[in-house]
Amino acid sequence: MPARGARHPPPTATASLAALVGAAALLPAGYLVIRATEATGQTWDVILRSSTAWLFARSLGLAAAVTAACILIGVPLAWLTTRTDLPGRRAWATLFALPLAFPSYVFALALTGSFGDRGMLVAVLGTFGVEGLPSISGFFGAFFALTLLCFPYVYLVTAAGIRGLDPSVEEVSRTLGRGRWRTFLGVTLPLLRPSIAAGGLLVALYCLHDFGAVSLMRFQTFTQAIFLQYRAAFDRTPAAILSLALILLAVLILAVEQRARGRARYHRTAAGAGRPATTIALGRWRWPAVVASGVVVVGSLLMPVAVLGFWLGRGVRAGVPFDLTWSAAAGAIGLGASGSALTLLAAVPVAVLAARHPGRVSSTIERAAHVGYALPGLVVGLAFVFLAVRTAPPLYQTIPLVLLAYLVLFLPQASQPLKNAIQQVNPRLEEAARTLGRTRLQAFREVVVPQVAGPALAGAALVFLTVMKELPATLLLRPTGFETLATRVWSWTSAGRLSQAAAPALLLVALCAVPLYLLARRVQPEDVRAE
């Protein structure tokens, strides 16, 4: 019946608010494009430099290596926790998600702190006569840090993919004479390929956008080169041009990912199959599987926490004061709370428009709001620095500008779950409220808000978590002297003061682990995003 498929034009107020948010999200990328086109000659000059080609190669090489390693770790773990009788698989499932609480620079700090002559390993192995170990840095340092940090993306998306599979498809293969192993290779794995690709591309994007780990490991990729350009050179145009090149690379990767996801939907012929798959008995592989899972948890959780604890102990013995850590924690929590509140508010008109008034206008605005997915924090930070210095100097190095950068970067994390939640609310409920004397706004507040509060808060919690971990944009845009846990960890680690950096790092991880643990069951893997 036509009425049910009918689309109403969106109310002007909602549409204009959403358009405003969309425009704000496009601000940094738009500015960089203008900046690059202003200096066309120089742009080509920078792009065609041989050093730029090297940056491409190094960035893509690191991303490819980390992605491959994450797939090798994440896929088997996903299979173990969803399909087998692995002892304690629920606990493992949570443990495998928790590394997401680590910011990359904290992980780099932990690796730096365990190797080298002064590292924890030497201190521990000293009793066995080990006197020195090479320090870790460069490609391998960045590779290990990012791999141990990012495999949860592949793990979460693949596990969701396995849960979405219709087990009868595999059973058909068995009845057609294929063994368990041939069924896995010939049926299960091809069906999972889109999920694996989606998870892998999240990892690739994370690596491309990462600033903290590569900087601390001194492995020059795009982000680090951009930062050095910006710091060293008087002319900031090359930094803007390189930023734009990085965005384009990210957009390319996102486009590939979108296609992979589109196909993933196509593949899931019977989503939410009525019957769960039968559990596979591991038999004599049971304990090897437990050991392997344990190794991953030791490397990705216990090791970094132990190293940080070790350095914290050193700091305490040396009498390092903690007052700077406490003030940095207050700064971080303050930014996290105001950043997530602002982002959630801005997400409301975008989500309402996308959920209730689908059409060309709303999909354009939604796409603009999603630009944050493709933007590295460093690039957004830089663009706002340039913008503020050129057009609104009083805004430069103020908290509102920091919050605006967070809004651009993390808007999709709040708007996506909110949109999904609003779509779940029957539009007839709002109409029923209208016929019972409520205006459009009253109906939304009294009928929709109570039902979407849970997912909306979950989205806000996710934003809070990511804001707390965010480093480069905060570093560039914060008022002079304003410190967060992230900036403290970064500055102390890059100055080699690991015993001082350990306290804010541990506190940060603890603060991030709480919302992450609470979210672990709520958040859909689709909402997880590279920083």
């Binding site: 019946m1 009425a3 019972l436 409520r438």
Partner: protein, 351 residues
């Protein structure tokens, strides 16, 4: 009654009707949903808007409630011009709406749902309605904890509480299983009568429309084809399409000569010019007798217990004829030869 439902712009009460729609039109893109609809409903009446799915009946209902704006046309509710010169928003129309899926607020209990339309005012009105709808003891239940019939009563009570001028019901019984439907239908009619409110309900089920409505408006292709009491619409449909919509109907080709229309087994008076015509006969208006030399043959028998529907084929053109007989008649099986005769009314319409 809430403050938001105050009377504004009360104009002259045109012929005292509860609802008057004049030349309503609505299109969605290329599809015309409502195409020049005229409808008047007197106060206190229960009207069924009967039509096949896609005929525009739900769109019509939504336009009356203000949930959809007509492209052109006028709507008066209790003499108030709500569409035509400007549009009164749904929250100020004093119209109750029962949605097809009921749209009970899942986050509110029974009391909260029923009290919603009062904006937190007098509790007596809610209690009164809970009693009227026989929902005592269920006040603190959540919607998903209720049976289908109870949910139906909550939805109705919720829309009646503010004292609307008009209640609209969109396929109100379609979500109930067959066993429950007849009972709930009677309950709903009783509740609406007790509230003394004018009501319009939309349905595609002819049995439903005929059994509980005071008047039936048959809607086809975005317009009202015929309005009348259930018996008059059933007995005197204006055309074959309406006839088939309100019940099973044999549309038999025939011809008119000298004001008599004749078809395979019957002849009726017809005020039509000579030439081809259709003769309309309800299956229950045909008698059937076993006769080895009869002109018709039984093709198929659908047995329902209380009655059965027998499909026969008659004449060289193998014209299909449906005959309804009460379950006590002679047992017929496919292949039996029979003789048909007209025992009730028949009407001739131009071909």
């Amino acid at each position: 009654m809430t403050q938001t439902m105050t009377h504004d712009t009360v104009t002259a009460d045109r012929n005292g009707s509860a609802l008057r729609c004049v030349d309503l039109r609505k299109r969605f893109g290329a599809t015309v949903a409502v195409d020049g609809l005229d409808l008047t409903v007197p106060r206190g009446e229960l009207l069924a808007l009967l039509g096949p799915s896609g005929c525009g009946k739900t769109t019509t209902l939504r336009m009356i409630a203000g949930l959809e704006r007509p492209d052109t046309g006028d709507i008066w509710i209790h003499g108030r011009h709500v569409d035509g010169a400007g549009s009164v928003p749904p929250e100020r129309r004093r119209v109750g709406f029962v949605f097809q899926d009921l749209a009970l607020f899942p986050h509110l209990d029974v009391w909260g749902n029923i009290a919603f339309g009062l904006g937190g005012a007098p509790a007596e009105r809610v209690e009164e309605m809970i009693t009227l709808a026989r929902l005592q003891g269920l006040e603190r239940r959540m919607p998903h904890e209720l049976s289908g019939g109870q949910q139906q009563r909550v939805a109705l009570a919720r829309c009646l509480v503010p004292g609307p001028d008009l209640v609209l019901l969109d396929e109100p019984f379609s979500n109930l299983d067959r066993m429950l439907r007849a009972a709930v239908r009677a309950e709903v009619r009783e509740l609406l009568r007790a509230a003394g409110v004018t009501s319009v309900f939309v349905t595609h089920d002819n049995e439903e429309a005929l059994s509980i409505a005071d008047h039936v408006a048959v809607m086809l292709d975005g317009r009202i084809r015929q309005v009348g009491t259930p018996s008059s619409v059933y007995a005197h449909p204006v055309d074959g399409e309406v006839a088939e919509l309100v019940g099973e109907m044999n549309l038999l080709p025939g011809s008119v000569r000298d004001r008599r229309a004749s078809t395979a087994f019957a002849e009726v008076a017809a005020s039509l010019p000579d030439g081809p015509c259709y003769v309309l006969i309800r299956p229950e208006d045909i008698g059937i007798d076993p006769d080895p030399a009869g002109p018709a043959v039984v093709v198929d028998v659908e047995y329902y217990g209380h009655d059965e529907l027998i499909r026969c084929s008659i004449g060289p053109s193998e014209q299909e004829v449906m005959v309804r007989v009460v379950g006590t008649g002679p047992r017929l099986v496919p292949g039996d030869r029979v003789r048909l005769r007209l025992v009730g009314a028949a009407r001739a319409l131009p071909a």
